[in-house]
């Protein structure tokens, strides 16, 4: 069988030692592909039919892995999985489950293909890409294929993805299909077949890239000795292509580098991980629909510094969601006027809108014929045989061999929806299916099955482990998995050739597991994916996009290009952070007193603390009124539940959740470590049963929350560059801290003359200033010095003065050149702020009247700060609702927006956290 493994040292796993001598030394020992399918490892098909390219390439891999042995391999794999998890944390989609960020688990054994074979495949698929491009160009324009009868009119007129709004007399962009991906698989005789086409916004590029980075790090020696071809040149081609498009589009002269955005569906999309990963790799700005707008005839990117022209869009969302003016999608999160600006040729788009049309299986059935007609040659790589049942003559023939075929929805693009529908059809009885087809035959295609080839996969110590029937004992075992390869191509220039990625994304399903024998396609289940290694015979040149040529890098500082949406979210992260911390401190003070030896109601400082708790929405207002308090359920019993119940709005648990959720919207703006710190905050309440929590738990939880928040704050203050990004985060935090302090001081001052040492101690302790006070004043506690330390002292980072100084500094540094609206509101608020700082004069604290005046200022702050927050909101995060008018006959209700500003964090989220500025003004600080 496999030769060349003799050199391996005999340090195999114990289970191998007893096995046959020859097999025991093989890295792939235990791999049993059977004889039904094509076996990639041995290059053999059914009944031993050999593949054209033999098995030499696998022997090379086998030798390289054999040098490591399975034990070392396992250790390296575990390290890699750790790195993978870390990436997931840095980019992951929900912040709750890392798994959600990757639709496919990685398998550490790459699929290897010799360069000679890969070139043949690439060439065959270039023809297909060209064909699909020409078909698209025709269908989105002259439609000669339809008028001449080459393509049944029904196919296009029934097609839900044929949007007339995307049609144009003259193509706005000369390249109808820039990025193309195909899924291919090998049949039992060793022949490659196309299973499906991806043209709308092919996904998987980011995963292919990530897999490659991980695998080349895990197996550097093997990677180099096998001369694995690099992916980087493909991405360079892609970038070049994108640049060319930007330049042919009516790009402004002489303005240097084109501005390209990667348009993503946003953080809630399953592809967000890929999008952020790709954007970073390609050096594009990540933008959501609401970051873009059309002004005049230009597509612009909304930033704090103003509107910046966009020259190119690398598009991820579906065509039908791009423009809320021209296509009524019901989702309406597009950018009104975008298509208009594109048609005028003011920016380039990859892929151009409408490309998804040819992804539907109905088109596959016509491709062999169309290729012959349009190019005068047969398809170089056949696609899995597909028949459109809308054609009567064919239908009759096909239905006779229904049992051997898969029935699929004709107009559904490959993906989870199509898979679910195919699975549903497969469950119907034959009569039901035939009746359904008879009632609307045009909606279905019949497709042959391809028995995909098999390749070794690593079982155990990996993600398969959980689901593998043989359980944990299978650690380090080699199994067999089916193989589908997604290959990517990019067109260089209008007439240019398609360049193929020298690698790709391999998807694999473990074989011989009954539960896994599902439908073909793009299932989002726990399928595996692999790296694809195209093995050259000669060493390969090193290229990467990660290190650009030093002389090409423009030095840049600052962050005027910060999207308004991101600034807004950062601001709220700051506020949530501080508010969570404030609540934790207050809780701590209260709980310590509740659990003390004295009866809590007798403690003089309790009334201030309870009032503070009420202001923070922690407890019912009744608890702050001593007369009613008696009749209430004891706080000792109520408090732990309120704190730990995730559904109690404003409770500490729910606050930490809001914080994590808000922070997840700006994940691409904060470092991986910072994100980890934030996640720690979210984990504090993990496993706490709110129904059983007691006061001791609350103390513990409050302490933990404060500590985790401190680690984030530390990272933010030590690692974030002082750009606009940081300023908005800090601005939110300062405003919140100032108002927290103002509120608690306000509560304290209400005590009037009854303030005792205990109240001062509680106040100082809550403001982390007790130590400072004690070191300054040995004589005891007085209201004057307390006020100085907590209000007027600009050197105390907890004092009001400190916050106000920081706020005015931030405001003076924020971008001013905005395209609209005077900033009188903000200016006025800032002036008032300066006036307030000046009035915080410690010398007034000596007199009784001065003290009264000071407490008055503090009360003023309680109303001023929310106004200030509002002003910032209006000035920088304008979010006016967009409305839609239909027909000029009658107005239809607003259905969303141009995407000018739709808060990522819904208004609902803000209100429920008690942080909506409007609620604030009502005195809920």
């Amino acid at each position: 069988m496999i030769s060349g493994s003799q050199e391996q040292k005999s340090e195999g796993l114990p289970e191998e030692r007893g096995a046959e001598a020859a097999s025991a030394r093989s890295f792939f020992w235990g791999y049993q592909p059977g004889t039904e399918r094509f076996d990639e490892l041995h290059g053999k098909g059914r009944l031993g039919v050999g593949g054209r390219f033999g098995a030499g390439h696998w022997q090379r891999l086998e030798r390289a892995l054999g040098v490591l042995g399975r034990e070392t391999f396992l250790r390296l794999w575990q390290q890699t999985k750790h790195a993978l998890r870390e990436n997931g944390i840095a980019y992951g989609s929900s912040g709750v489950s890392e798994d959600a960020s990757r639709p496919w688990h990685l398998d550490p054994i790459p699929l290897v293909i010799p360069a000679a074979e890969w070139e043949g495949i690439a060439e065959a698929l270039s023809q297909r890409a060209r064909l699909l491009g020409e078909i698209l160009a025709d269908l989105m324009g002259p439609q000669r294929l339809v008028t001449s009868g080459l393509l049944p009119a029904e196919v296009i007129f029934r097609h839900p993805l044929f949007h007339r709004a995307l049609w144009s007399e003259r193509a706005p962009q000369k390249t109808p299909l820039v990025l193309y991906a195909a899924d291919i698989a090998r049949d039992p005789r060793g022949k490659w077949w196309v299973l499906g086409d991806r043209t709308e916004a092919p996904s998987g590029l980011g995963f292919a890239l990530e897999n490659r980075l991980l695998m080349s790090r895990m197996l550097p020696a093997a990677f180099h000795s096998l001369h694995v071809r690099r992916l980087a040149s493909f991405f360079m081609d892609l970038r070049e292509s994108m640049n060319e498009l930007c330049f042919t589009a009516g790009r402004r002269e002489g303005s240097g580098k084109p501005r390209i955005v990667l348009l993503t569906r946003g953080e809630r999309s399953a592809r967000y991980f890929e999008d952020t990963f790709l954007a970073r790799y390609l050096g594009y700005t990540l933008a959501e629909g609401e970051d873009l707008a059309v002004r005049g005839d230009r597509l612009v990117f909304r930033t704090l510094g103003g509107l910046l022209g966009v020259d190119g869009v690398f598009r991820r969302p579906d065509s039908r969601t791009l423009d809320s003016l021209e296509i009524l999608s019901g989702q309406n999160n597009g950018t009104a006027g975008l298509l208009q600006a594109w048609r005028l040729g003011h920016f380039g788009m990859v892929n151009p809108p409408g490309c998804g049309l040819v992804e539907a299986p109905v088109l596959m059935s016509f491709l062999p014929f169309l290729c012959q007609q349009m190019f005068g040659e047969p398809l170089r790589m056949p696609a899995v045989a597909t028949w459109w049942l809308g054609a009567e003559a064919i239908r009759k023939k096909v239905l006779r061999k229904l049992d051997d075929l898969v029935i699929k929805p004709a107009f559904e693009r490959p993906g989870p929806v199509a898979d679910a529908e195919t699975a549903r059809l497969a469950r119907l009885t034959k009569t039901q299916l035939l009746n359904l087809i008879e009632s609307r035959p045009y909606d279905f295609v019949a497709q042959e099955r391809v028995e995909r080839s098999l390749a070794p996969i690593w079982c155990g110590g990996g993600d398969v482990l959980r689901e593998h029937p043989e359980g944990p004992g299978a650690e380090g075992r080699i199994g067999a998995g089916t193989v589908v390869v997604r290959l990517f191509q990019v067109q260089r220039g209008a007439e240019g050739e398609y360049q193929t990625m020298q690698g790709g994304l391999v998807r694999s399903q473990t074989w011989n597991l009954p539960s896994r024998q599902g439908v073909h396609g793009d299932g989002m289940g726990s399928e595996l994916c692999k790296d694809l290694w195209v093995l050259a015979n000669e060493p390969v040149r090193h290229v990467t996009l990660l290190e650009d040529h030093p002389d090409r890098i423009e030095l840049r500082r600052g962050g005027a290009e910060l999207p308004s949406r991101v600034a807004d979210n950062l601001f709220w992260v700051g506020r949530h952070l501080e508010r969570t911390e404030g609540v934790s401190r207050l809780l701590r003070s209260v709980v310590v007193r509740l659990t003390g030896e004295e009866t809590s109601t007798q403690l003089p400082e309790m009334s201030m603390l309870l009032r503070g708790m009420v202001e923070q929405n922690q407890i019912e207002p009744d608890y702050a009124v001593p007369e009613i308090q008696e009749g209430l359920q004891p706080l000792e019993q109520v408090l732990p539940r309120l704190v730990c119940d995730p559904n109690h709005h404003g409770g500490l648990h729910s606050r930490t959740q809001t914080l994590v959720r808000t922070a997840s919207t700006v994940r691409d703006r904060i470092s991986a470590d910072s994100w980890r710190a934030i996640r720690k905050v979210g984990d504090v309440f993990a496993g706490v049963d709110w129904r059983r929590a007691c006061l001791a738990d609350v103390l513990e939880l409050a302490n933990e929350t404060i500590l985790s928040l401190a680690s984030f704050s530390g990272l933010a203050s030590e690692s974030m560059t002082r750009t606009t990004t940081w300023r908005f985060l800090d601005l939110g935090r300062r405003i919140e801290r100032a108002s927290q302090m103002a509120t608690i001081l306000h509560c304290a001052s209400e005590e009037g003359d009854s303030m005792t040492t205990a109240t001062f101690v509680a106040l100082l302790e809550n403001a982390e200033s007790l130590m400072t006070y004690r070191s300054r004043y040995q004589s005891g506690f007085r209201w004057g010095p307390v006020c100085d330390l907590l209000i007027c002292d600009p050197t105390n980072p907890r004092s009001i003065a400190y916050q106000l100084v920081a706020i005015t500094d931030h405001i003076s540094q924020l971008p001013r050149e905005l395209y609209h609206e005077p900033d009188e509101e903000l200016f006025g608020a800032a002036t008032q702020m300066v006036r307030l700082i000046e009035s915080l004069d410690p010398s007034t604290l000596q007199t009784r009247r001065g003290l009264q005046r000071m407490t008055q200022i503090v009360s003023e702050l309680v109303t001023l700060l929310p106004q200030f927050s509002d002003a910032i909101n209006h000035r920088y995060f304008v979010h006016t609702p967009t409305q839609r008018l239909l027909g000029g006959l009658e107005s239809a209700p607003a259905a969303g927006g141009e995407g000018e500003w739709t808060p990522i964090l819904s208004q609902e989220d803000r209100r429920s956290s008690g942080l909506d500025p409007r609620d604030w003004a009502g005195g809920a600080i």
Partner: protein, 297 residues
């Protein structure tokens, strides 16, 4: 031969400042065998930051009008001078409806291919069982398609009541069948649904009626607003128009603005705007015959 001057004014009064508005209008009449466009112009206040014209998929002339600065009032005024030659309208030669339906369904010759989209369901007109059962009575075997469509039109006039309060611009066609009430848009959708149910290609026509009728003629419904009616394919490439709201075949009082599968394809003014608060819409349409010898304005 008759000449009209048409003035179509659309006003949006916003309760609050609108920062940006994007509008897509189809307000320039089509050029047809029986309709010559002598002059057409669209004025917009405040001044558009950007405007550009193009043809849509159906050949209608559409224009994008964008305003990128704050405003509280938007006025779009379309003025056109057109000439109608009723004698140039297609002859009413009739063929059996079954043969039309069969030709479209089988699609054996290129001339029929593009007609297929007018038989298939469209965004506002889904396949409706009630449309088929309602239409059936007018489509007796062997009857000419024009005869059938005319009969259908008479029945719609008889069975349905014109009522501008019963429906709005988004009322689904199925509901019109239930309510038996509606306006021109609804009646057009209704008749199209019936014609398509029988396999006859039918399209939606948006346009205008002359505001004051010629002497001795009754004033027609929909004369002071945009109007809508139906065209049905009776021979390859030949469309005959029917006005189910007024139960007549348009000759010289109807001015065609645009064609489409249904209202969603030809909406005269579509817009998206930011801000604005509550808003009020005022539309006025005026279609005046002018002396054919007078100079074009």
């Amino acid at each position: 031969m008759i000449r009209y001057h048409i003035r179509h004014e659309t006003n949006y009064f916003y309760g609050d400042t609108v920062a940006v508005s994007h509008n897509l209008v189809r307000l320039r009449p089509l050029e047809l065998a029986y309709q010559r466009v002598l002059d057409t112009d669209i004025a917009i206040t405040p001044k558009a930051s950007h405007r550009s014209q193009r043809c849509d998929y159906f050949g209608n002339r559409m224009e994008y009008l964008g305003i990128s600065y704050p405003h509280r009032h938007l006025q779009i005024t379309a003025s056109s001078t057109i000439e109608i030659d009723p004698d140039a309208r297609p002859k009413l030669d009739d063929f059996s409806w079954e043969s039309i339906a069969r030709h479209v369904a089988q699609g054996l010759e290129p001339i029929w291919f593009m007609a297929l989209q007018y038989v298939l369901p469209s965004p506002r007109i889904p396949l409706l069982a009630e449309a088929e059962s309602y239409a059936r009575e007018s489509f007796r075997p062997g009857r000419g398609v024009i005869e059938c469509a005319t009969d259908l039109m008479h029945r719609i006039k008889r069975d349905f009541t014109f009522d501008s309060r019963a429906t709005d611009v988004l009322t689904p066609t199925s509901e019109i069948f239930r309510k038996r009430r509606g306006v021109c848009q609804d009646f057009a959708h209704l008749q199209i649904a019936c014609l398509r149910a029988m396999g006859i290609p039918a399209r939606y026509v948006s346009g205008y009626l002359r505001t004051y009728p010629a002497e001795g003629h009754p004033r027609l419904e929909g004369a002071d607003a945009s109007h809508a009616w139906v065209a049905c394919m009776v021979r390859p490439g030949c469309w005959i128009e029917f006005d189910p709201t007024n139960d007549l075949l348009p000759r010289e009082d109807h001015v065609v603005l645009a064609y489409g599968r249904d209202f969603s394809d030809v909406s005269p003014v579509d817009g998206v705007f930011i801000g604005g608060g509550e808003h009020r819409l005022v539309v006025s349409v005026d279609v005046q015959p002018i002396d054919a010898s007078s100079p074009i304005q």
